[in-house]
Amino acid sequence: MSATEGLSELDTAPGRTNRLDTVALATEQPDDAQPYAELGLKDDEYARIREILGRRPTTAELAMYSVMWSEHCSYKSSKVHLRRFGDLPKSDALLVGMGENAGVVDVGEGYAVTFKVESHNHPSYVEPYQGAATGVGGIVRDILTMGARPIAVMDSLRFGRADAPDTARVLPGVVAGVGGYGNCLGLPNIGGELLFDDCYAGNPLVNALCVGVLRHEELQLAKAEGVGNKVVLFGARTGGDGIGGVSVLASETFDAEGPAKRPAVQVGDPFTEKLLIEACLEIFAAGLVTGIQDLGGAGISCATSELAAAGSGGMAIDLDAVPLRDSTLTPAEILMSESQERMCAIVEPDKVEAFLAVCAKWDVLATVIGEVTDGDRLTIDWHGERIIDVPPRTVALEGPRYERPMSRPADLDALQADTPPSSSADLRADWLAVVSSPDGADKSWVTEQYDRYVRGNTVLAQPEDAGVLRIDESSNLGIALSLDGNARYARLDPYTGAQLNLAEAYRNVAVSGAKPLAVTNCLNFGSPENPEVMWQFAEAVRGLADGCRELGLPVTGGNVSLYNQTGDVAINPTPVIGVLGVHADVTRRVPTGWRADGESVLLLGE
């Protein structure tokens, strides 16, 4: 049984048909068998849920815990390692650090910048265009949620060999999807990567970065505070797309045939997202919200439990109020749907009318679905019956945590053994292989599909090493960004490899003339259940953290993508590192390349 099939049977009480499973029923019938294993929960995880609730979960609660405790949402394998980033020395520039939707950095003159990179690897393999498009859509909403206007995107892409047949299926769709969504949002694409390696043939990597700008006082947080405040769901209607996509797709290994489970694909609607952006910015400017969260993986389950967990009270939701695209959806499906282009806001009762008016102006559907309560429970009702009654922190913050076994890959010594070319013929062959690699080829076929000009503030973009944007037209304050990864180094030595990646992104930002300020990262690895992969992951995190300490940079956030492998074979460990820098005056940026005859050439460094 696939997870999606398992879900459509949810909502009816176990062992019975057609009777909604409610909290009352779960209390009455505590011992009914439940399909937790099909939903990806381990025996001990299920036992913990029962312990937390003091009874069996309802089927809707089971659905909610299973997505929220999935690898993708809970970071259960990576959290113990990511703590290293939190231990870095405090940076004065850091206004909001890890733990929020995206980190926020002070860039001076009262401006702050927020940026983050996120993966959409598995969805892009299943449906390249929509997978990549919705990847851009998701990261843009993360940035918007911080109160910022999104101002640019970047994309880091990896595929199988350039001449492999499946690359011809995946690559054009991914590029068109990144472009289609970003262009339609009016966000310039200011850089990225495109690399090829056999290890990505069955598991391409699509990492998207978004950067946004705000005034310090405009910062928004994902928090439900204030008893009686309303919970407003706004944006697209909820449909049956991507149900369980997060737990199913991102926390599962593909075999040679691709994913065994195919949740319905999410289709992006960039036009609706553009309207959401404009509506949100107008709502922020008018001071109409006290907290806001985007809906991404795990949909309403995630947004409500995270908002409530971050606040001091509880929350009561009436699920019947959620506007649906498909009236046959069951409550668990509504809770887990990953329909795109939705947001959830906490609004004081006397501001609801003004909030709805802004949404109406932008043709954005908005609905009050509940309110903040005193007490400490998240409750959700359906057709007048209680189907969820949980402590929200146990869903959103207190998921499982694993110290997975680790071991240094057995083949590493052999890989590291130095075998320089022994003859000039070998050297020639190696040199030809390097210069003829598609990795080094002109990327304009890709970058011409991206709008680099929109918003009129793009100072440098492709083919420059760093993208540079003007932030303020009068002072010429600006920022630089670079996104880099080198998985071959990381495969040879994940600790040093991560540092080399960091150094590359750092240099790219520095040579544009900017002062590097902060780091984001997307860590793409194989299955955490493989001790060798877990070792690579831990080493890469340790390397990156040590590198950041050396350079005096904070890690402001990022994303972990695990289970990137085909069958038993993991991708090369692929940390993708983004560095943000600030330009006091963008007119003094330094482009790449020789500019004029007669200039001197200097080599810096060792």
């Binding site: 289609g180 339609c184 009016g186 960039p270 553009k274 970058t447 929109v454 009129g456 100072v459 003007r470």
Partner: protein
């Protein structure tokens, strides 16, 4: 001089168009698609973007918005109107300009710095140029291939209605390399390239685009 810039849902280059108006010395005035209010502007710019997501056909839904009825009426009375990219698509869909813009021949969105030949330097929007001048302005579109029936194209050529033509390569397969056309009276101009992205050394490939905005300001001064 007050130059209106219309924002439709999904307009993207409205901020850029307003900046270009300002840099040219005009006063940009924000206009909203749903209002029946042209706010007494002296000219109107329809900016680039993806109005209504370009779903259905590029520009089709925006062309039927309330404000467009006012724009069509005012344009028939001589109000200068410039449609850039999506704005050009809207003007064709609204019947103010002939022809239609369709999916690029190579089926990709394309963004590049594009050479253009100015063929008409006597419209409300091109008087700052010399006839025959070559300029460089970015193009960026997925549905920029200008088409019309062959007889219609012959008629337009005969009447000198082609304002700018692509040179050094046709980015989208447009018929006869047409990049922009004008109404019979030279007051309404539509083009696929983006002059508003070529107004500052810092951010554009040239400052050639400024000429479109200075043209209308001087046309208005002459008229006043």
């Amino acid at each position: 001089m007050r130059i209106g810039v219309i924002t439709f849902p999904g307009s993207l280059d409205d901020v850029d168009a307003a900046r270009a108006v300002r840099l040219a010395g005009g006063e940009p005035v924000a206009l909203w698609h749903a209002d029946h209010d042209l706010k007494d502007v002296d000219a109107v710019v329809l900016p680039g973007g993806f109005s209504y997501g370009d779903y259905l056909r590029a520009g089709a839904i925006a062309a039927r918005s309330p404000l467009m009825a006012d724009v069509v009426a005012a344009a028939r009375g001589g109000l200068p109107v410039l449609g850039i990219c999506n704005g050009f698509q809207v003007l064709c869909e609204a019947g103010l300009l002939p022809g239609a813009l369709t999916r690029n021949g190579h089926l990709h969105f394309r963004n590049r710095d594009q050479g253009l030949l100015v063929e008409r330097a006597d419209t409300a929007w091109t008087s700052s140029f010399e006839q025959g001048q070559r300029i460089v302005v970015p193009v960026k579109n997925g549905e920029g291939r200008y088409v019309a029936a062959p007889a219609e194209l012959d008629r337009l050529e005969g009447e000198g209605r082609v304002v700018v033509r692509y040179v050094d390569g046709n980015p989208n397969g447009s018929s006869r390399d047409i990049a922009g056309v004008t109404s019979a009276d030279g007051r309404v101009v539509g083009l696929m390239p983006h002059p508003e992205h070529a107004v500052e050394e810092l951010t554009g490939p040239s400052v050639d685009g400024l000429g479109f905005f200075t043209s209308v300001l001087s046309a208005l001064v002459v008229a006043a």
